[in-house]
Amino acid sequence: MLRNRRRETLFALALVAPFVAIYGLVFVYPTIKLFMISLTDAPLIGGGNYVGFDNYTRLASDRRFNTAVWNTAYFVLITVVPGTLIAFAIALGVNRLRGRLQAAILALFFLPYILPVSVVYLLWDWTLNFQFGIAMHVFDLLGIQRIPVFKSTAWFMPAVGVITIWWTAGFSILLFLAGLRAIPAEIYEAAALDNAGIWSTFRRITWPLMWPITALVLTIQLISQLKIFDQVYLFSTGGRPNDNVVLVYYVFQRAFQSDQGGRAAAVAVVLFIIVIVVSVLNFQLTRLSGGRSR
């Protein structure tokens, strides 16, 4: 038996070894390194001199960093709650359908989510093309002035926000559908016997029972929109990147375009901490509300 125990331990260590090696190399080591170089004036590659918290104190008066913070916050504001509500509404509609029709309609809503960001970019860049985009024909029909959407600072973020909602709603719809299917049919039957209308059934039954899923979707959306980069970068090419900069984009600019690894790392650390704080807060909140309902 003792021999068995030792064999089990050795086997277990052999099983975790590949993951631990990868994890150490591409996760633990870079994370520690990130915090370390944020205290230096290092370029992108190679060491630098220790400068204390200079990189951080400089951020306060850094105009582009402020733009990045505001743009990220603005983006979160226009995508997280609206995106979640739209996905919920779509899920309610899809949930009423049955069989093959449901599968087909769900696929139509879900397909954008499965596509790479660059495809989404080319597609919408074409749809909203100033000269030939089909959306501009629609604008003409409605008598709206044509806008070069991605070259206008005012329109950039709302447009990228709408495109992001279109692109990622499929994911939230799936989670909502899973939640809706888990609500027992008897509850609705009982409500129908009580002559409850569609609206009161929704408000008294569906909404409260779906709240945990809604909270989950909101959190996932919040965290992923804080980390936004790809769409903003792609739609900014040929536009005005400095006005549209978001946090990850700013890290990219500092590190890869200005060759300032240390200063970029300080921005990355700020984002790192924001995301961790949001995750931990959310974890505590769901634990608290979970404890109360039980």
């Binding site: 331990t9 975790v16 779509i90 509609g93 397909l111 030939f132 790392a265």
Partner: protein
């Protein structure tokens, strides 16, 4: 419930259904529009009115993209790197998740907590250090360089551990009684039991990797080493200002993942709900 209210509810239901279907059609319209545009000759694409179907459908843009551009090469880069990421991530996560769930070894709970904690860490913030690491290893512009930083998906381990936790202990005890080796228990009992989960996770892992943009974009500077997701946005001279050609490139880049999804729809949905922490 009176007959009148029942009829009223039915009518509202019908209206909601019709609205849902209409919304779905509008929602998917840009996808249709891209495909149709890629089948039009360039002069039809820029006509100042809307034509839902080409006058003279043509595959010439596809022939051009596949023969005159580097798309073929990008396909290979994407397939090789996404397959490598999938095999390495899923197998290392499966082994690790199994060990944490079923075996006893030192620092087990510490490792588990580290994995749970890393679930929260935004990988985008590590790009500077990933770049330095990959450059130090001399792997910029190589397949390995594209693959290496993509190998961390803590969520896959978490899903595996939960699945293995759900397997009754009797299975293991019976196998140990039979004097089966640890390796046999894992490969003959536990892995076959979770085959569905493994397929589902592999499919989404492949899609994630195929679609990933930021890291492959940073790790590659030579056009012939780009993945297709990066290549179609970076090499403008290959397609010029020919809109139909650009859309053709987009369709070609999106087609593989769209097909994988349409074929394995149930598995993909299952894996995505699992990865969000909901048991499907």
């Amino acid at each position: 419930m009176t007959a009148a209210t029942a009829r009223r509810l039915n009518n509202i239901g019908l209206v909601i259904t019709v609205i849902t279907v209409l919304c779905a059609v509008v929602w998917a319209f840009p996808l249709y529009w891209a495909v149709v545009s890629s089948l039009k000759p360039e002069d039809e694409v820029v006509r100042p009115y809307i034509e839902l179907w080409p006058d003279t459908p043509t595959l010439s843009h596809y022939v051009f993209a596949l023969t005159k551009t580097e798309i073929g090469r990008w396909y290979i880069n994407s397939i090789v790197t996404a397959a490598a990421v999938t095999v390495l991530t899923v197998s290392s996560s499966l082994f690790c998740g199994y060990a944490i769930s079923q075996l006893k070894f030192p620092f087990r709970s510490m490792l588990w907590w580290l994995i749970l904690a890393s679930f929260m860490v935004p990988m985008q913030t590590l790009i500077i250090n990933h770049f330095e690491l990959v450059a130090d290893l001399g792997l910029i512009n190589t397949w390995s360089g594209i693959v290496l930083p993509q190998l961390i998906h803590p969520v896959i381990i978490i899903v595996y551990k939960q699945f293995f936790d759900g397997v009754p202990k009797d299975f293991r005890e019976a196998a140990v009684m039979d004097n089966a080796s640890e390796w046999r228990i894992l490969t003959r009992v536990y892995i076959p039991m979770n085959w569905g989960v493994t397929t589902a996770l592999s499919i989404v892992c492949f899609i994630w990797s195929w679609n990933s943009f930021l890291w492959p974009f940073l790790a590659v500077t030579k056009t012939n080493m780009m993945t297709i997701t990066v290549g179609i946005t970076q090499v403008n001279d290959a397609f010029g200002v020919y809109y139909a050609r650009q859309l053709t490139a987009a369709v070609l880049a999106g087609l593989p993942v769209a097909l994988v999804y349409l074929i394995f729809q149930r598995r993909v949905t299952e894996a995505i709900t699992l990865s969000a922490g909901i048991k499907g």
